[in-house]
């Protein structure tokens, strides 16, 4: 067995173990999502460095340099499109990766701390996309970043300071572009790389990806079993991105004009759920209280209630699967109904004129919604005789679906002046 290994062989074994359990390389175990995210990050690194040779991070030069890339640089448009589509796809893939990890209960020890690292990585990926969003300096990016950073103003006590610190001044201007450029091409990628190494190391320490107890647990060599699957997924992904980038261009509107807002102005798509919340709740509740509550729950639930588990089994049990379905459908219906009610029927601010808006349009609807969802959860728990872990599945699915409905409403069903329309 002591054959000499090729250089390539050794390279692969830098990340992978020599032998691997055969059930862990079944495609449906992970859908290759973690690997896809890594590949997309590498693509972003390569195309990003290429774009950096041409891009100029000043309000006067940014837009022109993008136009120059598109029109005069050989393959410039293609490189920019690849960067755009991979940047969008990496957010989607990392989100799906989170779903996979959650629904196979891979957030318990020895993987529990890696769940936290994973959430931090998700936040970094979103921040990377967001800081990149401003760089074209066109009407789309300028105003999306203006409304998004303005949301920070509603964080209690430090909001105004936070907004100005991130913008480097009162409004989105030259300093903002420099700050975003530096974060996007320096600070955030470095942080992400450091965390990524740690993330992978923790996966190895936990004995690879999570697998069911009753699976085929014999060991097989990682090369070729794992490698050929990774290459297949990777090449398919690259082909898909190339196809997309050749036929669908990244958007570029008119040069940014700080004195004229287009109508409507929308935050980047992954934040449009928060923007949708803003239409229904007082800003402090919409941009601070609700996201904080959801975030704290995501960080802490694996520590607070270590329920029983079926590692690696999708949706825990048959009942778990059923609860996930019930949560997805009921959340879809309830959130959609909530949006319609808020748009056409309910106007707490006008009904309770004596109260400050923070209470009439913030605290009261928050408590009503919270109370309603709590009661609904109790009914579900009783009706299905659900365990703790099954209720976690229910809560998580409900929250995720609610955000997706809010987000897609914001993206597709909000027209001029943010009125509800059928087709934007």
């Amino acid at each position: 067995m002591k054959s000499r290994k090729s250089f390539f062989h050794t390279l692969v074994l830098l990340i992978h173990p020599e032998k691997i359990r055969s059930s862990s390389i079944v495609f449906k175990r992970t859908f290759g999502l973690g690997g896809m995210a890594l590949l997309l990050f590498i693509l972003q690194g390569i195309t990003g460095i290429l774009l950096r040779f041409v891009y100029e991070p000043t309000p006067a030069g940014a837009y022109n340099s993008i136009q120059f890339i598109r029109e005069d640089v050989l393959f410039g448009d293609l490189i920019r499109n690849i960067h755009h589509w991979s940047g969008m796809l990496i957010v989607v893939v990392v989100f799906l990766h989170l779903l996979r990890v959650f629904y196979t209960q891979a957030y318990y020890p020895p993987r529990r701390f890696n769940w936290i690292i994973g959430i931090l990585l998700l936040i970094l990926v979103i921040l990377l996309n967001f800081t990149g969003y401003l760089l074209p300096w066109d009407q789309l990016s300028y105003w999306a970043v203006t409304v998004s950073t303005n949301m920070l103003e509603y964080v209690p006590f430090i909001g105004e300071w936070l907004k100005q610190a991130i913008r480097g001044g009162e409004e989105v201007s030259g300093p903002t572009l420099l700050i975003f450029y530096n974060l996007h091409t320096g600070v955030l990628p470095l942080l992400l790389m450091a965390l990524l190494v740690y993330h992978f190391w923790k996966v190895r320490k936990a004995g690879g990806v999570i697998i069911p107890r009753d699976g085929d647990n014999t060991f097989v060599p990682a090369i070729p079993g794992l490698l050929e699957r990774e290459v297949a997924v990777g090449l398919t992904l690259i082909a898909f991105i190339l196809f997309l980038s050749i036929f669908v261009g990244a958007p570029l509107l008119d040069r940014a004009d700080p004195s004229f807002s287009p109508n409507p102005v929308k935050a980047p798509w992954y934040f449009s759920g928060i923007q949708e919340l803003l239409l229904h709740f007082h800003p402090t509740v919409a941009v601070f209280v609700i996201p904080c509550m959801a975030g704290i729950w995501l960080f802490s639930f694996a520590y607070l209630s270590p329920g029983s588990r079926q590692p690696g089994v999708w949706f825990y049990t048959q009942k778990g699967k059923k609860l996930v379905m019930v949560a997805a459908i009921s959340s879809f219906v309830i959130t959609s109904a909530g949006i319609l009610l808020g748009e056409y029927l309910i106007n707490l601010q006008a009904w309770l004129p004596g109260l400050p808006e923070l209470i009439s349009n913030g605290l009261i609807p928050l408590v009503l919604w919270g109370g309603f969802l709590f009661m609904f959860g109790l009914v579900i728990k009783k009706r299905f005789r659900a365990t703790r872990t099954e209720m976690q599945l229910w809560i998580f699915t409900f929250l995720i679906m609610a955000y997706l409905v809010l987000m897609f409403t914001g993206i597709f069903f909000r027209g001029p002046a943010m009125a509800l329309v059928l087709n934007y």
Binding site: T146, G169, V265
Partner: protein, 158 residues
């Protein structure tokens, strides 16, 4: 032996923590000082907007590059309203037909004095300080003033 080792170990931890805090505070000071210097170049810098006699009573004039609207009431009182909506910072536009400011982003509207006519905007439009010198209307563009509502003392007369 142990207590002494423990003590020295604790000392190390303390020294390293203090030095890390120092480095962090220097970095923060560096970053915020650069930001302040850059933005405070214009300390109370009054810029000439127009000649007072050129601005008609009961009119609204846009100074887009200065991010403000110069409003003159029917009695000649002047007010410089920030162009930015108080909700999410979009640029408002003057709607001549309805005599109001509209925000294109979330349909907030404001009257001529900057007071909210329809939400979601949470407060009255911000203002810039105005003064009139030698028949010229000047605005201090270095800072905006937040206010909860409009009152007559905010008006400046020629």
């Amino acid at each position: 032996m142990m207590p002494r080792r423990k003590f020295i170990k604790a000392l190390w931890v303390a020294i390293i923590s203090i030095s890390l805090l120092e480095v962090a505070s220097v970095v923060i000071a560096y970053l915020s000082s650069g930001g302040k210097k850059r933005n405070n170049i214009k300390s109370a810098e009054f810029k000439v907007l127009a000649r007072a006699e050129d601005v008609a009573n009961g009119s609204v004039t846009a100074f887009r590059s200065d991010r403000l609207y110069l409003v003159r009431m029917d009695d000649g009182g002047l007010l410089a309203l920030s162009l930015h909506c108080t909700h999410l910072g979009c640029a408002i536009t003057w709607n001549k037909d309805k005599d109001q400011f509209d925000c294109p982003c979330h349909a907030s509207s404001f009257n001529m004095t900057g007071e909210v006519l329809s939400p979601p905007a949470p407060r009255t439009l911000d203002i810039y300080t105005l003064k009139i010198e030698g028949g010229l209307i000047k605005a201090d563009l270095s800072k905006v003033t937040k206010r909860s509502n409009f009152n007559k003392s905010q008006l400046v007369y020629a």
